[in-house]
Symmetry: C2
Subunit: 327 residues, 2 copies
């Protein structure tokens, strides 16, 4: 295992210390590294709280700040955060208007966020994301997995919260964005979890995993690597078919961590052209490493169909460590 | 070779098409893929033009926009762009106030930008960056290599140009920022150039290349992989020793493409603490993949000592595909 680390048991805390120091103008670190919170809260605003296993950076801590999340709870790598983390974060950022939990659909995450909701005694609604069309049930989920589309849910609800939307309205909006969003991924290599010290899965030198999950978990099938256009075609067909609607969309090509920007933009080019054939026009774009799987090579394609409310939320000003515009 | 590509001969053009489509609000693509230019020019402003071999994305095209570059010329992967690209770009973005060329110190780049300057007949000054302390002369350079510090030169001069600085003032400022900036890199793996189809260099499963260049070219020495703190210590000592001054600084931890954000922030944490021992205080931060070497694992550390003029330029509003704040 080749990684820029000291002791495997301190990777997360040392990384969080660096993150909090580098972005001290936007975020601060909770006691015992339990959460990253927005430095300056906005009283009366519904607080948005997310989290999940680490290893997907910048998701979620990189999205804490004006116009997106108020707090993020980082679990150990690919491991759900614990309810006490979520309760501590909720205590830190709830200014009286209640909390919206945004949770990727993995059994551990859903269970722990649900436990935190019950134990906290606060007013909390939960949006569960399940945008991955690759598989119906999977290694860690009942139902579909929540993957890169979670970013879109967090961005759009974050913008509405900033504008004073109520908790009930945010819950409805988050569910709507999730339902307008589909994703699918492909992996060319495995990722390597520091504590494991070896690749999560074996994959042949000529193979790819179509429909891979963001922890390197199996997708639809293992097949020989094909050209980018063919890969994009299968992913876009699955996404467009499942959406079953036409219209203007956000096209988000997400790198899993080990794939260069040059290839991600090439995939964007392919996907945009293919979506047009399905009657979906990419009018907003996001390309880069945002919902990663450590050092895995590959990418996912996410499409969110836009209506006036969603595009307004997407375009709204944001100032976080990983996403900034209009502020 | 595992890459998300179609035909190796079209990787660059397909990627540029995707880039231009994804960021059509900020940039446009020159004829024959010769350059990426700022979509809306600012008449009377000195135009900033950079470029170099591709494979370092988002450098340079990702930095075209308000507050940074007016145009970027992408060569083939790790190959200098040609003078006709630079002349076409200069013709497209010069609004009459002249042009500043910002060129990384590689023989091919310096020669071609110089030829373009002579042939264009326009008023042009050139800033050559050479921030890499690892080696004095190298595979492709006489003198030191220009690496990630180039981003800082482009950002700070771009801000001053936006404020109306003259060509002579920008030349002086660019040279000053370059002289206040030092970098050093480390590679844990090689990169793979698409057209070559195999890793640029061989490296043992337990080894790292200290002082590596951004094309995977040799650095100071090949040694066994050590802990992050020890790696950071050697890099910071080389940088601080060469700077020979104390003060407030921008600390920029740059990923080469294959290293996860978690490790980059861990390196930031280590480097900030080590710099403090040398009397250098990190008061500004940038962490991420900005000056990459395709899929190479590893990172570089860049330190720029700040004065009032440099920090003002760094903080100034910017709106480009890869860097945005304050707009």
């Amino acid at each position: 295992m080749k990684k820029l680390i000291n002791d495997v048991s301190n990777v997360l805390t040392e990384s969080l210390d660096g993150f909090a120091a580098a972005h001290a103008d936007i975020v601060s670190l909770g006691a015992e590294h339990k959460f990253i919170r927005r430095k300056v809260l906005k009283p009366g605003k519904v607080a948005l709280l997310s989290g999940g296993g680490s290893g997907h950076e910048p998701l979620h801590a990189g999205f804490v700040g004006h116009g997106m999340l108020d707090a993020a709870c980082p679990g150990q790598v690919f491991t759900s955060p614990t309810p006490d983390q979520m309760i501590a974060a909720a205590d830190a950022v709830d200014t009286g208007a209640g909390l919206l939990f945004i949770v990727k659909n993995y059994e551990g995450d859903v269970m722990n966020f649900d436990m935190a909701r019950e134990m906290s005694g606060r007013e909390i609604e939960t949006v569960i994301t399940d945008d991955d069309v690759a598989v119906e049930n999977s290694l860690y989920t009942t139902g579909r997995r929540g993957v890169a589309g979670t970013l879109v849910v967090e961005k759009v609800t974050g913008a509405a919260a900033e504008q004073g939307a109520s908790l009930a309205a945010l819950k409805a909006l988050g569910d709507k964005v999730n339902q307008a969003t589909r994703s699918m991924g492909v992996a060319l290599t495995s990722c390597t979890v520091p504590a494991a010290g070896k690749p999560t899965f074996d994959i042949g030198a000529e193979d790819m995993e179509m429909g891979v999950g963001i922890h390197g978990e199996p997708g639809r099938r293992r097949v020989a690597l094909r050209q980018a256009n063919e890969i994009a075609e299968e992913m876009v067909a699955a996404i467009a078919g499942d959406l079953g609607r036409k219209g203007d969309a956000l096209l988000f090509v997400n790198g899993f961590g080990g794939t260069p920007a040059m290839e991600l933009y090439l995939m964007y080019n392919a996907a945009a052209a293919l979506l047009a054939r399905h009657g979906i026009r990419a009018v907003r774009a996001l390309v880069g490493n945002y919902v990663t799987s450590l050092d895995m090579a590959g990418c996912s394609i996410t499409v969110t169909l836009l209506d006036d409310e969603i595009v307004k939320g997407w375009d709204a000003p944001i100032h976080t460590p990983a996403l900034r515009w209009g502020v």
